[in-house]
Amino acid sequence: MPKTVAENDRFGGVEDNMQIIVVGCGTVGATLTEYLSKEGHNVTVIDSKASRLTHVTNSYDVMGVVGNGASYGVQMEAGIEDADLLIAVTSSDEVNLLCCLFAKKAGNCHTIARVRDPIYSHEVNYIKDELGMALVINPEYAAATAIARLLKFPSAIEVDTFAKGRVELSKFRLESDNVLVGSMLKDIQSILKCDVLICTVERGDEVIIPDGNFQLREKDEISVVASAKNIVKFFKKMGMATQRVKDTLIVGGGSTTYYLAKQLLAMGIDVKIIERDRARCDELCELLPEASIVHGDGTERDVLMEEGIERAQSFVSMTNLDEENVMLSLFAKSVSKAKLVTRVHRMAYDELLDTLDIGSIVYPRLTIAEDIVRYVRAMSNSLGSNVETLHKLNDGRVEALEFWIQEDSPVVGVPLMQLNLKHNLLVACINRQGKIITPRGHDMIQVGDTVIVITTNTGLHDIKDILR
């Protein structure tokens, strides 16, 4: 029986809910559990500590099983036989791989493992293929990639890419001297003469998907979608910097720093890392011959000043403590004009951090959760038009999804203005064989396109879901 959209919406797509087992209930596991359970899937969480499970089962509609997730008996108890997907995110890479191996044999389900040791990271593809895993995720690597993207484009607070990098979504804050302050959205085209689309505006606690008569104000955080080329043009016209940074100062030398430094060095950006542990310094020195490694406490004012924080073009705080990172960024803001990136693990206080002016905040957990949720949505929808990319924006309240239109559906071949679209939903961009179209009312979606949709109705699985 075909379900109406309304029903679908209410239960978050119950009709194709899957049995998912999450092994490991740490920070990533808990975030994943939250997202997947809210997507409408049946989630069972395995952890060896009962107290951690109680917390999760109290907050979300999921079942908890106490035990070692790599044990066959425990997996059976969690219902591996009927499971569609097992995600192993314990703190140990080896346990995660073992979990997936057993799950594959016992339940013949898809498996996703977190593998984060840099030693394995070179072998990700080999591991994936040989062990038959659907996805190998590395939160540190993903976070590093996100940060590198930000440093490439310092004016934006957040940059997400679609259509294999051809389309970018950048978020930036309107300062008082910006030409756009006070103008209506429909006039932007004529003011700047460039093809971009403003898709979300965050004002205070509110997230708005604006229409043409929306007036921009100072301190709004706006997200724009356009082809990579047009975005550069757009920022230039507004007089904002579009050049990538030339150097960066990183405090804390963990594995994310390693991945980040590697990517930045490859782009020709100078990297300086301040790390307090001598042994780790030596290690980094060996791994990253081109970077300059400084042995010292990056939280000390003198050390930072001595290493030239005032002159640095970008500053990334990556110590293990969220509080330290926030404090360091605040300090950097006060003494320099550097582009700031702050890594924060805990997501509970995100609205508080938004009120601080500390540049871009990267939540590694969120990055990972996005990847997995995208995979899961694509999996539960193997026939229709798949979700190719998924980014959660504005603290997860808005989703930007990229669909690949593989077959005919009610949205294909109809001018957009004639489609009965849901409220708070925007077709932001159409990518037709490499040509980026910012869609207007008379444009049509065609088979073979990839379409980017921005919406506050989270939980879309198929391009059909954009209709009311």
Partner: protein, 478 residues
């Protein structure tokens, strides 16, 4: 405390209770009884009030354990207050306090009655009395969870606060699905019992009422002498089903998903059956000379033991006339109660087993002070917090019992009557001994005693703490 969401859930409850009154309405139409109007009026009012209240959405979705406790307590008080109105409105139980007592006794599956004569009641009132047992047995909120849109994170707190047992777990990840499975098993077993009773030649109306009463382990009969005038076969069927409904429903779920080995391993069920078997044996021997054959004495022993341990409260004989040893066994069984996760009341077999194990550990500890101990239950070590929770539950239970006993002694009845009146209500059984025995009733007590016993019934059904939370001043502070 998030009062707006509590109000929202209570509006849902109001509608559910209104919908449930359709059954007595239909009965009234069939038997052409005027009392049906009382149910129809209350039903319409419930649907209207609930419907209007539901339209105002809660301001916030915040829901923690304390909201769970308070919602459950309020919910049960609300359904009792509403469920009692038709009895008084139709004039069949003129005093509202009595009607309230009867309804609370129904929903909490106690089965203690204030009526000396049941038979004059109209059919629609009788079936409503029995139907409250059935609804209260598995729980109103658990039922609500099967229909409530799965929004907030409140469902687990609700289920935990309403379901009996110290470790309430879901059967499957989704709570809605879990609740549906539980009700599915419940309905299926009730229907099987109905079919068997019909095959055994029981009239349809009696079958419905008695099956509701058995399934919820309630105990309201529709004849003055409870179950005594039915045939031995019919009594036998009821005996078996009383005992079945006293077993943890997880066991049936395990059978359902084809894991019978795990189901049979259930430690609580084994102890439960062991207790029943030994109690039957002892009583049968003890009451041997009261009956003509071994068969009859075993039959009556089995029925009474099944009835008391599952806290149903039906009776085939006046066990008040039995020898003291048998009566004492029955009183002890009252406290023991059925399995956790069943429809029965009492302290639950699992708690008793854990308490005995902690006592054993304590004894061992005094012999070998350095020995390390764990309490294992169902093949797993229990966390300290769970064991402590059980001990505190036991303490609270005893204190509540003592307080109620003290107030009830103002009645100036004999010791056995007072003691068993509290025991029979706090454990949700129904009949006690002497003045409140199986062939007597609670109608002669003062209003004060009735209110105390009503509180005890609710406290017993909700496992003490949700009701005690209502008495705490901090619950009411803004």
């Amino acid at each position: 405390m998030n009062y707006s969401i509590i109000r929202y859930i209570l509006c849902w409850v109001l509608q559910v209770i209104g919908a449930l009154m359709a059954l007595p309405c239909v009965t009234a139409v069939i038997y052409r009884e005027k009392s049906g109007w009382a149910f129809a009026i209350v039903m319409v009012l419930c649907m209207l009030l609930g419907g209007i209240g539901k339209r105002i959405k809660p301001k916030s979705q915040v829901f923690y354990a304390r909201e769970g406790f308070v919602t459950v307590a309020f919910c049960w008080i609300l359904i009792s207050i509403v469920g009692a109105i038709p009895f008084t409105l139709s004039g069949e139980i003129p005093s509202y306090v009595d009607a309230l007592f009867e309804t609370i006794s129904g929903f909490t599956t106690t089965g203690a009655s204030i009526l000396s004569e049941v038979e004059p009641l109209s059919h629609c009132c009788l079936i409503w009395r029995s139907f409250t047992h059935w609804v209260g047995g598995m729980g109103v909120l658990v039922f609500l969870l099967t229909v409530l849109p799965a929004t907030g994170g409140y469902n687990m707190h609700l289920m935990r606060a309403e379901s009996p047992g110290f470790s309430v777990e879901k059967l499957v990840p989704r709570i809605t699905e879990s609740a549906r499975i539980l009700y599915g098993i419940y309905i299926a077993m009730t229907v099987v019992q109905m079919v068997l009773l019909l095959l055994a030649g029981m009239p349809v109306f009696d079958t419905l009422c008695l099956s509701f009463g058995t399934a919820g382990t309630g105990g309201f009969g529709i004849l003055n002498d409870s179950i005594a005038s039915y045939t031995v076969l019919q009594q036998g069927i009821i005996t078996v089903f009383m005992i079945l409904f006293g077993i943890n429903f997880n066991v049936y779920y395990l059978f359902l998903v084809r894991r019978p080995k795990d189901a049979l391993k259930c430690e609580e069920m084994r102890f439960y059956l062991l207790i029943i078997a030994s109690a039957i044996l002892m009583i049968a021997i003890n009451t041997r000379e009261y009956y003509a054959t071994w068969g009859t004495s075993i039959h009556h022993a089995a029925f009474q033991v099944g009835s008391i341990i599952t806290t149903t409260g039906y009776s085939t004989v006046d066990f008040n006339l039995w020898p003291q040893f048998s009566k004492t066994i029955l009183v002890l069984l009252m406290f023991c109660g059925a399995c956790a996760g069943s429809t029965g009341g009492g302290m639950k077999v699992s708690r008793i087993v854990v308490l005995f194990k902690t006592i054993r550990n304590e004894l061992r500890l005094s012999m070998h002070p350095r020995r390390v101990h764990l309490v294992r239950f169902e093949g797993r070590p229990l966390e300290k917090a769970v064991v402590h929770n059980i001990e505190r539950f036991f303490a609270a239970y005893i204190l509540l019992f003592a307080a109620s006993f003290l107030i009830l002694s103002l009645e100036n009845l004999d010791f056995a009557s007072c003691f068993t009146a509290v025991s029979a209500t706090l454990n949700n059984i129904g009949p006690g001994l002497e003045a409140v025995g199986p062939m007597a009733n609670f109608g002669h007590l003062s209003h004060l005693s009735k209110f105390v016993l009503m509180f005890d019934m609710l406290a017993g059904r909700l496992e003490v703490f949700p009701m005690l939370v209502l008495l705490m001043p901090s619950t009411w502070k803004k």
